[in-house]
Subunit: 494 residues, 2 copies
């Protein structure tokens, strides 16, 4: 689209054009840097321009703090960005928001964007049903039946306490208030299913596995049960409320437009220097000064660094003094989310009311109608996970086959980002292995001298792993740093 | 309590001490002003130190904007403040919060206070039941039966569309997206009950009336149905979710401690001048300068004014140019909330699990256990409304009688604030008369030149009338003003 720059990231396939690397996005920043010769020492360097880094940068620059934002990609948004094709945004990563997600909603409200919220779902079209294809066969259900089955199954899954998790996790934002929750710290999703297997129908088991794998992007064996319990608690211990909160409302203008508001507000203060396509190789701290070195040999200095590199790539940066051993260990162990997210434009407007599961024998597990494209066709989004994983761009025929396994579909377009092969993420939103949260979370949050570590992957909120958690984490880091710099500035004027 | 100053506001009664005016609160600011001789012209004057004014002041001062905060009371918090007796906070006004209320929760998270959230409810004690006393008689129910009855009744009340309000108000934060909602704009609560009367049992009707009057603080005749529909939508169209969100979680430290965080953060910037016990009489605008005159004859000037006076008292300030006619009209018409809120310390720890309704023949309508006092007794809170209204301090015997009508109670203490006689509020949280929202909301929000009007009473969020709405409104006003001043400053440097 005219006026929207092309990112080097993402993939776009059409029957006529074939597979093309790179997609236009409002998140691409041009010019890619604005650093002046004189910019040698900053108050703060923020590493990473995802929502965590953008929020920290916005909060610092609007408080008068000279900030340098460094980003390896050509765009803002990190694991959340919108490709823009014919003016229509396909969300390559983070998508849905809700007024029950406090940090992200506060920002939407602050930027006057609440009227941008639209429903992903539209149950007014002809194919208004749910396809359920498992080893027990292939059926269609009404969406009410779908909800009823998933709600019943998920209640069994979380009901470790006879109170649907309420007594073991009474506050979603602090898993550790209630020591009872520690009993479940090492439980995998597969372990929990084994515990209740005698009480589950085959349908219910398939419902649990497909929904939880949609959430975790891992396998039933490597995904922690505790992470699901937190999502469940954050969704007020109710399947429908959880669903409404995490997979129903998206932004009409696309997430990249939202992300730009943070960037533009920071830029307007004149306190922001930035450089994209700038990969960090080293972070060296000495006596209250931190030196950040880029892969292409540039170096910048600041009083503080806020590093927002995600868990799965954190240990690729060389820190001196070195990262805490627990940080390195957790980063090398990695979280499990290798979510595959594929958008398909389907040449049938009536599919707008559809959703479906094909599990466990398909490369994509869950699909749902997500919008209406400019051509009047249906935009469906499909999710796969690390169980039965696919690299969509490596075999488009396989990907198309996986899409068509849900229902007969005339596919006009595919759009996706391969998060597993993304060098700055190596995965999607965080989902821990059993035991990892209890073992590593505190260490991941711990600062090391003048270097702070902020990311949704270890955010304190109930919506850790969501955009909400990223904003929370960035807010917290900026507030800490601003307070310290103000204090130092005051002390130096005495 | 040592170290906590006494506010001139609020009332405290004990059997031995009788009725005493004024209660200690962490919200009292001492010294009551910090204005210097040299402080003549400010960037911004904020009128009112409730959450709206505090948020605006905090956001402005932390962005380097010289701000003067003027407040008629001796304390911060406006319609939300905690009296502090023996170290225990009784919430005189706004109390409950939830992670589903985005603006207030974002602030709690930002100030590292999420661990301050505690449950008002505790269903582990002996008197674990709900008393229901109506003209049909007096009964007790389990809390499960209570929930079931209220949920069933409220579903009938809101079900104008066969979808529990979802289709007429698909977004709680914008009542006007869906024109269908306008059909209900002039409906009173009584009108709506009349529509469904044939489908309601006497119990259900009493349940609806008592719950909605708890929410509105008015009468069934003067309370708008639309306001309830918005609360319902904000609570995700579900009674239990709504209840969890608005009446379950409070702050262990008290709201005034929370409010202080905003004030203290602003003060730490050195950009804050303030004066309490400072009642505004006039606001005169001329050529981009606004002059604010106090009742005691002082005058201050600023480039912008953010006036946060609530609806019911807004027209008591003389504006020149005058207030928009719609603003004056709405302010003189007033919203209906004349909520009576009375705290009682009950000499029975086992009452901690109790709740009850006495309706319509009591001066207090709803009561519920709200905490455990330092003495180990039960803290219960009671709510009345404009139907069968009482000025609690004028007849303590009547008030005690109203409390004891719920259940036999040995009352050790009463604590309350008479919001109806409060000259700076003349009522509690906003609840409009039928038709008022559609007729006046847009005008109430409209700025007049350099004077902006911000208050939860006309906040854009789904939680208008809540602390959440106050913070939203203050955030918005500060952002607007900061942007304008930055722009002017940049222009003047060209």
């Amino acid at each position: 689209m005219a006026g929207i720059a092309k990112s080097s990231e993402g993939w776009h396939w059409t029957p006529s054009g074939g597979l093309v690397a790179g997609i236009p996005s409002k998140g691409v920043i041009q010019p890619s840097q604005n650093i002046k010769q004189s910019d040698a020492v900053f108050d703060v360097i923020v590493i990473g321009a995802g929502y965590t880094g953008l929020t920290a940068t916005r909060d610092l620059t609007t408080s008068g703090v000279k900030t340098l934002l460094l980003e390896g990609r050509d765009r803002i948004g990190g694991r959340t960005w919108s490709s823009n094709i014919d003016g229509y945004p396909y969300e390559m990563g983070g998508t849905w928001v809700h007024w029950f997600q406090p940090h992200v909603y506060r920002e939407l409200s602050r930027y006057g964007m609440i009227n941008e919220l639209v429903h992903s779902t539209d149950f007014t079209k002809k194919h208004n049903y749910f396809s359920f294809a498992t080893r027990s066969g292939r059926r269609t259900m009404s969406h009410e039946e779908e909800d009823e089955m998933f709600s019943r199954a998920m209640q069994k899954f979380v009901n470790v306490d006879g109170n649907f998790g309420k007594t073991v996790m009474p506050f979603p934002f602090d898993a550790y208030w209630n020591k009872n929750v520690l009993k479940y710290a090492n439980l995998s999703v597969a372990d929990r299913i084994a515990q209740i297997r005698h009480d589950l129908s085959e349908d219910e088991r398939h419902a649990i596995e497909s929904f939880v794998l949609l959430c975790s992007g891992g396998t039933a064996q490597n995904s922690a049960f505790l992470d699901f319990l937190r999502w469940w608690a954050a969704g007020n211990y109710d399947y429908r409320t959880l669903l409404d909160t995490i997979i129903v409302f998206k932004l009409k203008c696309g997430q990249s437009e939202f992300a730009r508001r943070f960037f533009n507000e920071a830029l307007a203060t004149s306190n922001l220097a930035y450089s994209f396509n700038t990969v960090i190789s080293r972070v060296d701290s000495t006596n209250n000064t931190v030196r950040v070195t880029t892969r292409d040999g540039r170096a910048f200095q600041a009083k503080r660094v806020i590093c927002t590199a995600p868990l799965n790539v954190l240990s690729k940066i060389a820190f001196n003094p070195p990262l805490l051993a627990e940080k390195t260990e957790a980063s090398k162990l990695k979280h499990v989310n290798q979510c595959v997210k594929v958008h398909a434009e389907i040449k049938d407007p009536e599919m707008r009311s559809w959703s479906g599961v094909t599990y466990p024998d398909n490369k994509l597990v869950i699909g749902l109608a997500d919008g209406k494209t400019p051509a009047g066709y249906t935009h469906c989004v499909f999710f796969g996970c690390d169980a039965n994983h696919i690299h969509a761009e490596e075999n488009i025929d396989e990907t198309l086959k996986a899409v068509k396994k849900f229902a007969p579909m005339d596919v006009n377009r595919l759009v996706f980002h391969n998060w597993s092969k993304d060098e700055f993420a190596e995965g999607a939103w965080v989902w821990y292995r059993p035991g990892m949260e209890v073992k590593y979370l505190e260490a991941l949050r711990r600062r090391q001298g003048a270097v702070l570590f902020a990311n949704s992957d270890w955010a304190a909120g109930g919506w850790r792993s969501f955009i909400d958690g990223a904003i929370q984490s960035g807010t917290e880091a900026a507030l800490t740093v601003r307070g310290e710099l103000q204090g130092e500035s005051r002390a130096s004027h005495l």
